[in-house]
């Protein structure tokens, strides 16, 4: 192995500087700015933990956190559906290559384009969804994005639409990694396809499943673009999530100090949740074929 301090420093420096200056230092500063009363332009005024205490008593913050966690719960549950689809795909069915790629198409679009498209899908009078509903005889279909009681579900559908292909693809790749010999052996022992899927394939890809739980939960906690464009957190805060609340506080209400505190809480919550999920799903054994 080669070792040369100058070369190592030289090659590492650009990446290190970028990550330190643009990722880690801002994250720490966010916690620090959270201690300030600051409108974004004027002088910062140190106010101690006031913003953090305010956040803990702020119903809007808690409801946005609740919405983020609801999205995380929905996303985690939907992983089971993606896994089922992947199991079907991986069971020696023809045309899977094309199907996998078709599933992936929505993931290539920007969240902004997806949001704009689904605003049209949900349009109360001319949208795709209500056109179908009215065609099959439902007279007064809901106004999906204007009704506070269903808006969060309505937003969750395009989120599924965007990420389904991604998770199906990951599970499919993991399933294809299982050697044929393992499956053949089970068949010879008389296992049915369902038994093979549940008792052999599932346990063997459990590690990948755990990784996707972390991805789905962390991804949900930081959802922003889609919600910001589709509803702006409305109607009346019914679809506000942590990131959109932070963004509004800072860039619409010019409350940069409080916004920073919320941003820092978002970071802390995400890290804590990640650690908890890793601990809960931790296993010692490594699978080797």
């Amino acid at each position: 192995m080669m070792s040369n301090k100058w070369i190592i420093t030289l090659y590492l420096l650009p990446a290190f500087l970028l990550i330190a200056v643009l990722i880690f230092i801002p994250l720490i500063l966010s916690g620090y700015y959270g201690l300030m009363n600051w409108d974004g332009i004027g002088i910062m005024q140190f106010i101690g933990f006031e913003n953090y205490i305010q956040a803990l008593q702020d119903m809007k913050f808690w409801s946005s956190a609740l919405h983020s966690f609801l999205l995380a719960a929905f996303s985690t549950l939907s992983l089971i559906v993606y896994l089922a689809v992947a199991l079907i795909l991986a069971s020696k069915i023809k045309g899977t290559n094309l199907l996998r790629k078709i599933y992936l198409i929505p993931m290539l679009l920007s969240s902004v384009a997806i949001a704009q498209l689904w605003i049209k899908v949900y349009n109360p009078t001319n949208g795709m969804l209500n056109s179908i509903l009215m065609a099959i005889g439902i007279e007064n279909p809901p106004e999906w994005l204007a009704d506070p009681s269903i808006v969060l579900f309505a937003i969750f559908i395009p989120i599924i639409w965007q990420y389904a292909g991604f998770y199906i693809l990951i599970y499919y790749a993991a399933l294809k990694n299982i050697p044929d010999t393992v499956i053949e052996a089970a068949k010879i022992d008389g296992a049915t396809p369902l038994q093979i899927a549940l008792k052999i394939k599932l346990p063997l890809i459990m590690n990948v499943f755990k990784v996707t739980i972390v991805l789905a939960v962390v991804g949900s906690l930081k959802y922003f673009d889609l919600i910001y464009v589709m509803t702006g957190g409305g109607p009346n805060g019914a679809s506000e999530v942590m990131a959109s609340y932070m963004y509004k506080l800072a860039f619409s209400s010019n409350d940069f100090g409080y916004g920073s505190a919320i941003g820092f809480l978002l970071l802390i919550i995400t890290l804590i949740v990640t650690v908890i999920i890793r601990k809960v799903t931790a296993t010692k054994e490594e699978i080797e074929y």
Binding site: L12, I19, A113, K210, V229, L266
Partner: protein, 273 residues
């Protein structure tokens, strides 16, 4: 499994495929219709007369600037990310030094971090540096935030390069720079192309940073510029549809040619966890 079982499974898979594609199909249909046909006609019928005018009016409205900004910021950031990530991955995986494991995990933590938490401090930083409303701000942010995922994809390949290649090069008296640029980079071409295409998709679709750091129209990229467009068209569905189709057409075309690379990039960036 019986024949009926297979038919049922196929139907499940087909239903998922329809769900994934149908909204896009519907979008392309209404991007080629006028309002009268959209509001009065059957929403799933082919357009009676194809209205290319919708696309024409979007280009006359000036979407070209946003399109061009998306293209060049995407290309520049992608090149920077892939080069810088390759250099870092090279010294982390191929050279021996004490802190390599620590530095690597520091880089990879970046994958889990909600970037929104860094947004306000970044905004202040760029403000003080005079980089607000300057494309440099988004280019360096894209580069930094895509380094972790890019390194993650590169890691797998770099750790499989045989030592003999390096040893032979060193014995031949070539410098480490020469080894990296003339030997390692060229043999990593397949994985590099995967990282390039993944970076391009991410950069092309990025929204928050542009929305926060860029204010003048001449620097906005498509994701943000598109919002202005849609706001100004309000009820002209044909034009809105055309705007959306234009915004993702380049990615869809890239997908037709590089779908295997994209699939590989997505799986290798996640499965290794």
């Amino acid at each position: 499994m019986g024949r009926i079982g297979y038919v049922f499974l196929y139907l499940c898979l087909a239903a998922v495929a329809v769900f994934q594609v149908f909204p896009i199909f519907w979008l392309i249909l209404f991007s080629l219709k006028d309002n009268y046909e959209i509001f009065a006609g059957n929403p799933f019928a082919l357009p009676e007369a194809v209205k290319w005018e919708n696309y024409l009016s979007v280009f006359q409205g000036g979407i070209g600037t946003y399109f061009w900004n998306s293209i060049w910021t995407t290309i520049v950031s992608t090149m920077l990310t892939v080069l810088i990530a390759s250099m870092a991955t090279f010294v982390i995986t191929r050279m021996r030094w004490k802190l390599s494991k620590l530095v690597l995990s520091l880089f990879l933590i970046g994958l889990m971090i909600p970037m929104h938490s860094a947004l306000i401090p970044l905004f202040k930083m760029f403000m003080e540096a005079g980089l607000i409303d300057n494309p440099i701000s988004i280019i360096i942010t894209y580069t930094a935030y895509n380094l972790p995922i890019t390194m993650m994809i590169l890691l797998g390949f770099y750790s499989t390069i045989p030592r003999e290649i390096e040893e032979a090069a060193i014995v031949d008296g070539s410098s480490i720079h020469r080894l990296f640029f003339r030997i390692i980079l060229p043999i990593s071409a397949p994985v590099l192309s995967t990282t390039v295409i993944i970076n391009m998709i991410y950069n092309w679709n990025e929204f928050v940073f542009v929305n926060t750091f860029i204010s003048s129209d001449k620097y906005k990229t498509l994701t943000v510029g598109m919002q202005n467009f849609i706001g100004q068209y309000m009820t002209d569905w044909g034009a809105i549809g055309a705007t959306l189709v234009i915004s993702f057409l380049p990615i869809l075309i890239a997908f037709l040619f590089f779908s295997d690379r994209i699939v590989e990039g997505i799986t290798s960036s996640a499965v290794k966890g």
